[in-house]
């Protein structure tokens, strides 16, 4: 493969810095939890369903606990107690709690040991559910082989899950390997996970467990028909990061958009909340073998892609370090970056190659997520189609992992069925005719591309040093990423964050942590 000579010592230093930054954050994370982490525990224990106002049961139980000011101890212990009290299954117990027929915070009737045992039992079932989805996916991958990378990733976004299903199948028959259902606008700001099959999203379809199931089933059908495994993607970043991860795991999703900072920067979600939530969500992904996709590409929509290239690399390093803490193995780490340089810049394509190749070499084993041009797309669809074509070439040449197909109507509307087809025609064409271009060429030593990659690295180093010095939270507050400032205690969802009491328990987290990363 084409190669840029990089200094491995420098890379080691950068990785070490990132680890230290992540360590600091982890110290904070381990002392805190959030309402949505607690709701996730309930979901993993098996609590499902909504009331007549479509409020999820998990939300209602946690709200109860909050009202009783018992949240700091975590829901697990109380729910275990309720299980003992009801002597019934999880769902019935939850409903009884909701109906007020069981008092949630009354633990006095049971011994500490009994509760602990119940908790353990629940946690084991939770872990087993995560193991099951992992195995199911591995089975399917034996039956339908995984397509070769870069995987062709296409989005559907009609708002109606049934319409999405048609679109997804069409995309697969034109060559898509991965289907992402874009979430309805601003769902990430909802502090609950909507319920049931939905048909009324805005520029996206709600992420619900039922929708996940419908789409996964449709993709299983086409995997069979096409003889290759088709992966399903959804989004977890937002106020329900861990809960969506749980729902996704239960429905055998393959990939989740899951970034440690995206919600903070692009959704104005409180950073404490986000850091806490992402950790648990990633532990779940790790166990369920869900690939995470990070969102560094977004930085380049609000800040300049050349000037701020180093922020992308720095963020990738931090995301990697944080993901490692959550036991994610390299094969599950879809670090993000993007082809977003102003095409008016001379040699823009050389810059893009430098950036893409740098990412490839810094993270040689991860399935890099490569985002297409969006910001400089024109409403002249013919011109936009050309930009996507070179993006496709950059991707195959630098051997990216997950290739989000650029769409010629990017600057106009969420894709129509034929837009997706046209996008895939370009991807398929380029991937075929330039399949081994990366193997064929060398970048000139001391050339523009090699120098540019080195320059980015040289900018990353002091940047990470600075972040280490002031801490990641302060760095974000100072607007160091994406040119967006977010105060430590600003943004949405802080009220859902709490410090763990001494008797706090999250046995699912404990078990996942103790049993460690799953390899192979």
């Amino acid at each position: 493969m084409a190669h840029i000579p990089l200094n491995t010592k420098q890379i080691d230093r950068l990785k070490q810095l990132a680890k230290e930054i992540a360590d600091q954050v982890q110290t904070f994370i381990s002392r805190h939890s959030s309402v949505s982490v607690e709701r996730t525990i309930l979901r993993l224990y098996g609590v499902d369903g909504v009331d007549s106002e479509r409020t999820p049961l998990s939300n209602k139980i946690i709200d109860k606990l909050k009202k009783k000011s018992r949240i700091k101890s975590g829901v697990s212990r109380f729910f275990a107690g309720a299980m003992l009290a009801s002597g019934r299954d999880v769902q019935t117990t939850a409903e009884l709690i909701d109906q007020g027929k069981i008092e949630l915070d009354d633990l006095s009737r049971f011994s500490h040991a009994d509760i602990l045992e119940k908790e353990k039992e629940l946690a084991q079932k939770a872990a087993a559910a995560l193991d099951e989805t992992r195995k199911k996916k591995q089975e399917k991958l034996k039956k339908y082989p995984s397509p070769q990378q870069p995987w062709r990733y296409l989005i559907v976004a009609t708002g109606n899950i049934y319409e999405d299903r048609i679109q997804a199948k069409a995309a697969v028959s034109a060559g898509a390997d991965v289907i992402a259902v874009i979430r309805s606008t601003a769902q990430s700001l909802l502090d609950y996970v909507p319920y049931g099959p939905t048909t009324e999203g805005f520029a996206g379809t709600f992420a619900t467990q039922a929708n996940f199931k419908i789409m996964r089933q449709a993709l299983d059908e086409v995997s069979e028909k096409e003889g290759r495994y088709i992966r399903l993607v959804n989004y977890s970043s937002g106020l329900c990061m861990a809960e969506i991860a749980a729902c996704a795991a239960l429905e055998d999703l393959d990939i989740l958009l899951n970034d440690s900072m995206y919600g903070i920067l692009f959704r104005d979600i409180n950073m404490k909340r986000t850091f806490i939530d992402q950790y648990f969500s990633r532990l779940i992904c790790s166990r369920a073998k869900i690939i995470i996709n990070t969102g560094e590409d977004n930085y380049l929509t609000t800040s300049d892609a050349i000037e701020n290239a180093y922020t992308v690399t720095a963020s990738q390093l931090i995301n990697e370090a944080m993901a490692q803490k959550a036991l994610l193995t390299a094969d599950l780490l879809g670090l993000g970056h993007a082809f977003e340089i102003d095409p008016k810049i001379e040699n823009a394509f050389l810059y893009e190659l430098a950036h893409a190749q740098l990412a490839r070499q810094l993270f040689p084993k991860v399935p890099l997520k490569y985002m297409p041009p969006t910001k400089y797309k024109s409403t002249d669809i013919f011109y936009s189609h050309c930009i996507d074509t070179l993006f496709n070439l950059a991707s195959i040449t630098t051997e990216q992992g997950i290739h989000l197909a650029g769409i010629l109507t990017e600057a106009i509307h969420t894709p129509h069925m034929q837009d997706r087809y046209q996008a895939l025609c370009s991807v398929n064409y380029v991937f075929n005719v330039a399949r081994e271009l990366g193997k064929e060429i060398e970048f000139r030593k001391d050339g523009f591309i090699a120098k540019r990659a080195q320059q980015v690295l040289d900018e990353v180093e002091p940047f990470l040093e600075k972040i280490k010095e002031i801490g990641l939270m302060e760095a974000i507050a100072q607007g160091k990423f994406a040119n967006i400032r977010r105060p430590v205690d600003g943004g949405k969802g802080l009220e859902g964050v709490f410090e763990k009491a001494v008797d706090y328990s999250n046995p699912v987290m404990e078990q996942l942590e103790q049993e460690g990363g799953i390899h192979g």
Partner: protein
Amino acid sequence: MGEEMIKPYGDTLNDGMVQLSFTLPVENSSRAKKAAEIYVSRLNFEDVSVVHARKIADNFTYFVVYARAIPILDYSTVKAPEFKIKPMDFYEINEIIKIKLHRPLTVVGATIGSDAHTVGIDAIINMKGYDQDYGLERYPEINAYNMGAQVPCEELLEKAIDVEADVILISQTVTKKNAHIRNFSEFIKLLEEKNLKSRFLLIAGGPGISNDLALRLGYDAGFGPETRPSQVASFIVTKITEQKSAKRKYDGDPP
């Protein structure tokens, strides 16, 4: 069969979404964009979005537009003459000629008029064929003559009479100013003048040809893009064996 009402589809059934691009002979301006919007609405569209407008020459503006088409079409009323010929392969075709006709078929082909494109007719006639499908020359039971391009109608007809052809194949690629229609019609006129219209099976082909159009022009069939030689041969064999059973009649000069 009941009604089947259809409209274009963007991402929701019957949303009517269509993409258009065109150029208007006006300078780019808000008024030009408005003109594009009005113009497209006169084309029976609603929700017209002029998403792109750009000057591309003095007094010319190029537009990209998305809009929702209003008409609804009852698909059950749409008819198109499709071949009802069973597609056969190389071996079947030769077999049938042998068994049913007891003599080889003779085929003459050319690109007529000033059209110099031969690749299309070559694809059908020459050995090599098209898309892994042998050309007519390769069929042991077919005598195929390929006269190439720029062949005058008279010359083609003469050759066909000369070799006692069963079938005449004519190719046309240039469609600008309806050159193909003029040339195809000229050949038919020539045949009519000489009272030879029903002596040959007449087949037209080329990128601008559909079966529909060919029939309207007086040919027995028309083949468009991506035609494979065996499709043409299947048609020929089916037609000629039909004719044989219905006894061949000449309405012109005696054999």
